[in-house]
């Protein structure tokens, strides 16, 4: 049964969707299946380890019986050698078995992590109802916890083996005594389970209050400069002191039930041991047991408590793994947020909205042809959001009225590649990634430095490079935390310009820069996107007069409807509303 063959752990590769586990049971089954060699070897060896542990008290008793009592030096030699062998087996079995188990567990966690990430990033989106933070938790900690199934199984089987072996050893010494011990220990542990459940609850509550105090501390420190500006640091300190005191109360409460439990276990095991010792001693008096056997019985009775407690732990491990597996399954099986069609976009990528109603939008008509730069001014941010959802293909066709076509094909009938290869929506809140300026800029085909610099210049962002000795390889931290808001915005814009999509939709690309830079960006965007071959289409949703002045025409949306269309110049001359909104 002990297949020790070390096969390489299965490597990840894109799996067909049919392999996705649809229930916790499926997930558990797949975990064991795809790690079976390692799990099997781990279980076998960890069980062997438990057997060896159980045999240690037996070895002590035998040594006393065979060598110490009769004073037999040869027997002593045999016993010493035997003890050495026992410990060798014990150590090796643990060492190898634990490694197999860990390898299987780590491998499973890795596979689940990658699988969850893939599902979360899938271009079709997901409707699991989980928030971004929750998705992150599922992909990180839940993937790890769900992999604990491997450990739970290994420990469970090893522990059961230990109990079986102890049973056999005890029965071999004396049947009635063995039966007594075997009934007594589990009964004892069973009774002790009730206070244990209470402890689990209290310590969970304790962890929660401790976590709250820590979260409060982080939050206050995160806003420390704000606190200082408003002179609220003393109040903040008071708030933290209260939370810390709560955490202390909860901890002391949990410690009390912990202490109670610890005391109960100690006392109960001692009383039980006293009972076993009394009965076994009486049997030894009658000659039914030898002195060594007496030691064996007492040793085994002491040892048995360990695996039985271990079983309790296994129950907890299964429960944790199950809760995490449920969340994983929910993410993996979440329905797609959008169902793309299968048509490609062959004609000229003309973007047409005709009498479109969606969320706050009502009967919006809009056309964007290659070569054009069109501005859209919205007074209600919700109108802009709705428009962005429509143009990025995230809008559900069922909730939309009118028609939205790209190159004459309804947007929702386009296949994903055609849509994403044609339209790029660079949202106001778009993300930058850890890496370098270069790695953030280059999103498609490789581009030479000259092209990168050109894109940066168009976004008025050349100072990011020129002011820095690493140039284009200047490091960018996670979430570009080492760049200022204005730098982040210009870098994201440069990325969009470099991607050079047939249709580019920009949303408020200049909110974090000053007027002079805004002007430079407006010129740069116009130069980069128009008068080109093949012709590019650009839609700018913004309130910046500098950008709108560069547009071929501006569509003004008020209360969800197209209010007016015209050039910036005519609109400023003729439309009071437009003047008020745009000319600050």
């Amino acid at each position: 049964m002990s297949t020790l063959a070390v096969s390489a752990p299965p490597t990840e590769r894109p799996r067909p969707l049919s392999d996705t586990p649809t229930t916790v049971r499926d997930l558990r089954g797949r975990t064991l299946r795809r790690n079976r060699a390692h799990v099997a070897a781990g279980v076998a060896l960890l069980s062997l380890h438990q057997v060896a542990e159980a045999l240690v008290p037996v070895a002590i008793g035998l040594t006393i019986d065979w060598a110490v009592v009769p004073g037999d030096a040869r027997a002593l030699t045999v016993c010493v050698v035997g003890m050495g062998l026992l410990f060798t087996v014990l150590a090796l079995a643990y060492r190898t078995g634990a490694r197999f188990t860990l390898r299987a567990m780590e491998n499973e966690a890795h596979l689940l992590r990658v699988e969850a990430t893939r599902r979360a990033l899938d271009p079709r989106g997901e409707r699991s109802g989980l928030r971004v933070g929750e998705v992150l938790t599922v992909a990180t900690s839940d993937a790890e916890q769900a992999a604990q199934y491997v450990r739970a199984w290994s420990v469970a089987i090893a522990v059961v083996t230990a109990i079986v072996v102890t049973t056999v050893a005890l029965l071999a010494v004396d049947v009635p005594l063995g039966v007594g011990v075997l009934v007594g220990v589990p009964l004892l542990m069973f009774l002790l389970r009730f206070p244990a459940a209470r402890i689990t609850r209290r310590s969970e509550a304790k962890q929660a209050t401790a976590a709250r105090a820590t979260a409060l501390a982080s939050d206050l420190v995160g806003g420390l400069r704000v606190l200082m500006g408003i002179g609220a640091r003393a109040d903040a300190a008071d708030r933290y002191r209260l939370a810390s005191a709560d955490a202390l109360d909860a901890s002391v409460g949990a410690a009390a039930s912990n202490g109670l439990y610890r005391g109960l276990v100690t006392a109960a095991s001692a009383v039980f041991l006293a009972g076993v010792a009394g009965v076994a001693g009486w049997m030894a008096l009658n000659g039914r047991l030898t002195v060594g056997e007496l030691v064996i019985v007492i040793g085994l009775a002491q040892f048995l408590a360990e695996p039985v407690q271990g079983l309790g732990m296994v129950g907890q491990m299964f429960a944790t793994a199950k809760a995490s597996a449920q969340r994983l399954v929910r993410l993996l099986n979440a329905p797609d947020a959008l169902t793309p069609g299968e048509r490609s976009c062959e004609g000229e990528p003309v973007l047409t909205l005709s009498e479109v109603g969606y969320r706050t939008l009502r009967e919006v008509d809009l056309e964007l042809r290659p070569g054009e730069l069109v501005g859209v001014l919205t007074t209600d941010p919700r109108d802009a959001e709705a428009l962005l959802e429509l143009l990025s293909g995230r809008a559900e066709p069922g909730r939309m009225s009118g028609t939205l076509t790209l190159g004459g094909v309804p947007m929702h009938e386009l296949d994903l590649e055609a849509l994403r290869g044609t339209v790029l929506v660079e949202d106001h809140g778009s993300a930058l990634f850890e890496g370098t300026l270069r790695s953030n800029l280059v999103t498609g085909a490789e581009a030479d430095d000259e092209r990168l610099m050109e894109a940066l210049r168009s976004a008025a962002a050349q100072d990011l490079v020129s002011g820095h000795h690493d140039g284009l390889d200047r490091p960018v931290a996670d979430r570009a935390a080492n760049l200022s808001g204005g730098q982040r915005q210009r870098l994201a814009l440069a990325r969009a310009l470099l991607a050079d999509p047939p249709v580019l939709v920009l949303h408020d690309p200049t909110t974090a820069v000053d007027a002079v830079t805004e002007e430079a960006i407006a010129q740069g965007v116009r130069a980069a996107r128009t008068g080109r071959d093949p012709a590019r289409a650009t839609l700018v949703i913004a309130g910046s007069p500098a950008l709108l002045a560069r547009a071929d025409r501006v569509v003004v949306i008020v209360e969800g409807r197209v209010h007016r269309t015209g050039t910036h110049t005519t609109l400023t001359e003729q439309d009071r509303h437009y003047r008020e909104v745009v000319l600050r």
């Binding site: 300190a237 202390l248 100690t266 009394g278 290869g421 910046s544």
Partner: protein, 607 residues
């Protein structure tokens, strides 16, 4: 052309590469811990005494069992066996009582010391002098009050009592074996060098691996967080494969290190088993010779062997957790380092400021020696109730001047006076009572909205809070939130827009009701229509106060009593908006640019 930066950009490098907080020396760490222990009075020695007594009670059972073996060998009667059993039971019950009580009191003492420590740390962090706060890395602060406190908490809460109990058990068991027969005790000690060797083999090897593992795990979670938080962008640019690959690579790298570390750990475990084997065998062999030479009884040897077997668990626990104790020690040193930070200066002047006037007298300031001056001989006085707008390109010194006036920095030379009294004589706390700053950083504090606002005035009633929101025209959207004022906002709560967060900042200003308001907020992030609403709200919130506005949008300057134009750390123009536009100077240029049209159209618009 002026530099296309904003002021925040000029300061970004200083913040990213700020200085680290100190870490205390081992001696100082012990001293801090000692202070905490002393504060618990007799509770600490009492807790330790109970634990020791409990462990001592645990010694009774093996000793009695050994005696029972002897009694049986000598053919004593059932009475002897029964009295042994009763003794075991009785000692067990007493032991249980003591162990339970001991565990609880050790936890209580430990947790109390810890709570005191974390409160002191937080207090120091919150009361850090403004000057220093501007220099430290927020990330470093966060890891101290977050990670370090969590590490110390877990190690004390989870392992503290166990470590103490295990140590007591080991010590007393060794003493018990020696009491049986000193030679048996010595035999058991044979395991000690093997344990020591194992630990000395393991720690130096594992340390670097653990460090690498932490780094690898950090990189893995960075990759995952980056990809998942920015997943809309990932999808828009079709970067799914690239990010998935990065996550997969980093996950695999972290996994490989974890497996390597664990391999090392299992080898360590095998060495510990070796120590157990050596000790147990030594006890049995020595016992054998002692029995042969009639120097000890079979019962004594039995008791010694049982004692030693009982040590396996606690020894393994102590040795394996050595690492955790060490890392808790490292975190403790970092916490103790924070405790030794100086606090803000207490007010020196007896009198408070006479009225809300602000005077800046030939102030110069530079960030660090050798750096070009951010401010160069600036003098400015603001009358009570006057509204002044600071205008200028990035790096002109607007934000620096604002932070000097609000007392966040001390000028390199020159004086800032509030109501005639220099700021450093007033002391930081008094300055805070009079000057309120809304900076470019916004932060919505986690908790309910009303709690957030009460930070500005703890005693504010619900009506007052609503009135403040009403004043900045925010009551409408607040009422529309799922639970109105009681909606949980901030990290993990209902997400507020940048504009709403700014509204809250202004409502806090109304609640705090200071004489002087300094506004350096980035209204532009809210988009142009939002910015206009915020400007209106800001005007309402600062009505009647002496106000300094760093004008990121020139409409803010348009409505001010006076516009101050800065360039290269100096004041180059000042006057009313209309006068400056008419004068055709620097401000007129900025204004034309701001109105935002290419020049020819600008001409058109001017008509």
């Amino acid at each position: 052309m002026t530099s296309p930066h904003r002021t925040e950009e000029a300061e970004a490098p200083a913040r990213a590469h700020g200085e680290l907080l100190p870490t205390a020396s081992a001696r100082r760490t012990w001293a801090v811990l000692g202070e905490g222990v002393r504060r618990t009075g007799w509770n600490t020695p009492l807790a330790l005494a109970i634990v020791l007594a409990g462990s001592a009670a645990g010694l009774v059972a093996p000793w009695v069992l050994g005696r029972m073996v002897d009694d049986i060998s000598q053919g004593k009667g059932l009475d002897a066996v029964l009295s042994s059993a009763l003794l075991i039971a009785a000692s067990g019950v007493i032991g249980g009582l003591l162990v339970g009580l001991g565990g609880w009191s050790v936890s209580r003492v430990g947790e109390t010391i810890l709570a005191g420590l974390r409160e002191r740390v937080m207090d120091r962090v919150l009361r850090m002098p403004a000057e220093r706060l501007e220099r430290v890395r927020i990330g470093d602060l966060l890891s101290r009050v977050g990670d370090d406190v969590a590490v110390v908490t877990t190690s004390i809460a989870r392992n503290g009592p166990d470590v103490v109990v295990a140590m007591a058990t080991v010590l007393l068991t060794a003493a018990g074996m020696t009491a049986l027969d000193w030679r048996l005790g010595l035999a058991g000690m044979a395991a000690l060098p093997v344990y020591v060797l194992a630990v000395r083999w393991y720690l130096p090897r594992s340390g670097p691996y653990y460090a690498r593992e932490r780094v690898a795990m950090g990189e893995r979670s960075h990759a995952m967080m980056g990809a998942l938080r920015g997943r809309d962008t990932v999808r828009a640019y079709r970067l799914e494969d690239e990010h998935e690959k990065r996550v997969s690579e980093r996950s695999r790298a972290a996994m490989d290190i974890t497996i390597t570390v664990f391999r090392l750990f299992t080898r360590f475990g095998a060495r510990l088993n070796g120590a157990e084997c050596v000790g147990l065998t030594a006890v049995l062999v020595v016992g054998f010779w002692l029995v042969r030479g009639d120097l000890a009884t079979v019962g004594m040897v039995t008791a010694a062997a049982l004692y030693f077997h009982r040590l396996f668990g606690p020894m393994m626990f102590l040795v394996v957790n050595f690492n955790e104790v060490q890392s808790a020690g490292a975190s403790l040193a970092r916490l103790a380092g924070v405790i030794d930070l100086p606090t803000e200066r207490e007010p020196g002047a007896v009198e408070g400021p006479a009225g809300p006037s602000v005077r800046v007298e030939s102030v110069s300031h530079s960030y660090g020696a050798g750096a070009p001056p951010a401010l160069d001989g600036v003098s400015l006085s603001i009358a009570p109730g006057e509204r002044v707008a600071l205008v200028g390109a990035s790096g002109a010194g607007k934000t620096t001047l604002a932070s000097l006036i609000s007392g966040l920095r001390t000028p390199t030379s020159g004086t800032v006076r509030l109501g005639g009294i220099p700021l450093d004589e007033l002391g930081e706390r008094r300055v805070r009572e009079h000057v309120f700053l809304i900076s470019q950083e916004t932060h919505v504090f986690a908790g309910t909205l009303v709690e957030d606002l009460r930070l500005a005035r703890a005693a504010a009633t619900e009506e007052e809070v609503e009135a403040a929101l009403e004043a900045v025209d925010a009551l409408e959207w607040v009422r529309a939130l799922p639970e109105g004022l009681d909606t949980v906002v901030g990290e993990g709560g209902h997400a507020l827009t940048a504009e709403q967060a700014q509204h809250l900042a202004l409502a806090r200003l109304v609640l705090a009701d200071p004489d002087v308001a300094v506004l350096d907020e980035a209204t532009a992030e809210a988009g142009s229509s939002g910015a206009r609403r915020l400007e209106k709200a800001a005007a309402a919130a600062t009505a009647g106060r002496t106000t300094l506005v760093v004008a990121h949008r020139l409409t803010q300057a348009q409505t001010a009593d006076r516009v101050v134009v800065m360039e290269g750390g100096r004041i180059v123009e000042q006057g009313a908006h209309a006068d400056l536009v008419g004068a055709g100077g620097r401000y007129a240029d900025l204004w034309r640019n701001w109105r935002g049209s290419p020049d020819e159209e600008g001409e058109l618009l001017a008509r």
